[in-house]
């Protein structure tokens, strides 16, 4: 029972439920299954991105470049589709994952080989990737008319009653869960976050594991690039601008410790869902969407206060190298 009470995911699920119940008491249609599925679908991209960010944060790093990576791969795939509509979509998606992973690998190699703090590396690539979007597109937009029908419609199809976009999120989440809990590499990501020194002694290559985490977050950003562009049917320089913080917010609310080593797949997913539910509920209860930003800010602060009560550890460690790791 005590363990149940301290289960962070349970509390977060209850918080989401509370918001749902509260809104539903005034607007009964809000809790209809179809609307709940819509919310889930709306949040799919954020959920995937939050998982990628979680892998990085677990290793005591941070990836600020995810949204820019998303915008860059999104622009590349949109322009490719506009120029060569004949290329089949699955091939394009695979290309997105590869390009995204390559961009993530660039972050990772700087962190691994040169030992530059991740926050500095990804701060740099955040602006570089976003600038490259402008360079390759010349500032022009790719709009719906230029994209092929398949490109736009793929994620809008239904499979077993769920939109394909939701299936993307489900498949990514399941694969990610299996990777994090059932493979050596996944456990290594947790291990170097909990104690990098001990991880070295158990034979884990700390640098390479961080590199791997950045490749994962990059690959997910790349996939999200296609999904984002085909969902909002516009590719521009401004795509997902500032979204990197929403992704981190989802992780923090989901109980992923910024100090590394602690966080669960379910937590990150629920953190993203919480933001999704709140954002969907606001217009329903007649609150201006301009409240969204302040509410998510308050939610982050509340979450971090509650999380800190659970674990009294120094959280500053993300900016500190592990002591004594050569």
């Amino acid at each position: 029972m005590n363990r149940l009470l301290r289960n962070r995911e349970l509390w977060l699920a209850l918080a989401i439920l509370a918001v749902l119940v509260l809104v539903t008491t005034r607007f009964p249609r809000f809790a209809q299954p179809s609307n709940l599925l819509t919310i889930f679908n709306d949040t799919s991209i954020l959920m995937m991105l939050a998982l990628g960010q979680m892998a990085v944060i677990l290793t005591r790093s941070i990836d600020l470049s995810m949204a820019s990576n998303l915008a860059l791969t999104g622009m590349i795939v949109a322009m490719t589709n506009a120029a060569f509509p004949a290329i089949p979509i699955p091939l394009l998606i695979a290309g997105c994952v590869v390009v995204g992973a390559a961009l993530g690998a660039f972050n990772g190699i700087l962190v691994w080989k040169l030992d530059i703090p991740p926050i500095v590396v990804t701060l740099g690539t955040l602006t570089i990737f976003r600038g490259l979007v402008f360079v390759i597109s010349g500032g022009a937009w790719v709009n719906a008319a230029q994209m092929s029908e398949d490109f736009i419609q793929l994620q809008r199809g239904y499979f077993l009653g769920l939109p394909v976009l939701s299936w993307f999120a489900i498949v990514v989440a399941v694969l990610f869960y299996l990777f994090m809990t059932r493979t050596q590499q996944g456990r290594a990501i947790y291990a170097i976050g909990v104690n990098p020194v001990a991880a070295v002694y158990t034979g884990i290559n700390v640098g390479r594991t961080k590199f791997l985490a950045f490749v994962i977050s990059g690959a997910i950003s790349g996939l999200a690039g296609y999904l984002w562009i085909s969902r909002y049917v516009i590719a521009s320089v401004e795509v997902a601008s500032g979204y990197e913080l929403t992704i981190i917010a989802a992780c923090v609310i989901g109980g992923v410790s910024i100090a590394g080593g602690s966080g669960t797949v379910a937590g990150a997913l629920l953190g993203a869902l919480f933001l999704g539910v709140v954002n969907n509920a606001l217009p329903v209860i007649g609150v201006s969407p301009f409240w969204q930003m302040a509410i998510s800010g308050a939610a982050i602060l509340l979450a971090v206060v509650l999380n800190a009560r659970g674990e009294r550890r120094k959280g500053r460690v993300i900016l500190k190298k592990a002591e004594g790791v050569a």
């Binding site: 740099g124 955040l126 602006t127 301009f290 959280g315 500053r316």
Partner: protein
């Protein structure tokens, strides 16, 4: 000795001679970079070497530079403040609100600066009072502060600031010397003295190098961190006054992305993101470099978004080069 080597720390047999270390320092590297960009600019554009063009340079870095001075101290203690741009947005919005109630120029300035200090104090309280990691706290307040600005303004804007208020952002003290430049230089001197010539400054370094040891040597770690967050808030408030006066209007999206530019300046200036090292001269030089790059590229009609590629690359290259150089030297040794 083997013990030290295995932990990656190495004790030199003798200290470098002072002249050599002065020449090899980060600051001299920055001076070289600045000179290089200056010369490249004067070749690239015929409009560059002109008193008024160079004076325009000020407006490219003064506001961000002011915040960078305080941010440097925060980062030296091993903390970080990502909310500075949002503090500008909130301070500017509340100044606009005060204007609607007929506030005069001194009141407007007081509101801007006051809001800045209060926001900084709120950050400081969360970090030191509640013992929360500053990176998460300030990501949260970043959304919160700008969020409040959005709640107040929505898609509207405040305009019609008085003329004598506009002087803070557009006025010149003498010939081409703008008020913003004078303020930045004065602040730079004050922060130089504060960090390099006072007990307070030594304590800031001590905290960054080892907070536990600092605590045991009688440094009031939390109090100093709290003061530094207030100071960053204060500088953000001042920047809000300057920026609002320069633009003449307030939108909730004002100063979007400033926090990244400010941190880039600080890190480029040689302040270690891990805490414990850095100098004000470096930060001032880095601010100047970013101003020069922005001005030079601007004169060549390069769009702002492409400029950001240059600053981003500059940030990574300037950090990576010395590391690569050291690695190559160690490999040879």
């Amino acid at each position: 000795m083997t013990d030290l080597a295995s932990t990656g720390r190495r004790l030199p047999d003798r200290l470098d001679n002072p002249l050599k270390s002065a020449v090899m320092s980060w600051e001299s590297l920055l001076v070289l970079v600045a000179l290089g960009i200056f010369i490249a600019n004067s070749f690239a554009s015929p409009y560059f070497l002109n008193a008024w063009s160079l004076s325009d340079l000020t407006f490219n870095f003064a506001e961000k530079g002011l915040i960078a001075l305080a941010m440097a101290l925060v980062i030296i203690t091993g903390e970080i403040d990502l909310s500075v741009a949002s503090i500008i947005a909130l301070a500017s919005t509340l100044m606009g609100l005060a204007l609607q109630y007929g506030a005069d120029t001194p009141t407007l300035v007081a509101v801007g600066v006051g809001v800045g200090i209060l926001c900084g104090a709120f950050n400081g309280w969360l970090v030191t009072g509640l013992k929360l990691p500053s990176i998460v706290v300030t990501i949260g307040t970043m959304s919160l502060f700008r969020g409040v600005a959005f709640i107040i303004l929505g898609d509207q804007s405040f305009k019609g600031y008085p003329k004598d208020f506009a002087w803070f952002g557009q006025g010149y003290v003498w010939w081409v010397i703008s008020f913003e430049l004078v303020l930045f230089l004065v602040a730079a001197v004050v922060f130089y003295i504060l960090l390099h010539r006072t007990n307070f400054g030594r304590r800031v370094y001590a905290i960054g190098n080892n907070p536990t040891a600092a605590q045991f040597s009688g440094v009031r770690v939390d109090r100093i961190k709290f003061v530094l967050f207030c100071l960053t808030g204060l500088m953000s408030g001042i920047a809000a006054v300057l920026l609002t006066a320069r633009l003449g209007s307030t939108r909730p999206s004002i100063a979007q992305g400033f926090e990244l530019d400010v941190i880039t300046m600080v890190v480029l200036g040689g302040v270690s993101i891990l805490g414990g090292a850095g100098s004000i001269i470096g930060v001032v030089l880095a601010a100047l470099i970013i101003g020069l790059v922005t001005l030079g590229l601007g004169l060549l009609n390069v769009p702002g978004i492409v400029m950001s590629i240059f600053t981003g690359t500059l940030l990574i290259v300037v950090i990576a080069l010395p590391i690569l150089w050291r690695m190559m030297r160690e490999r040879r040794a």
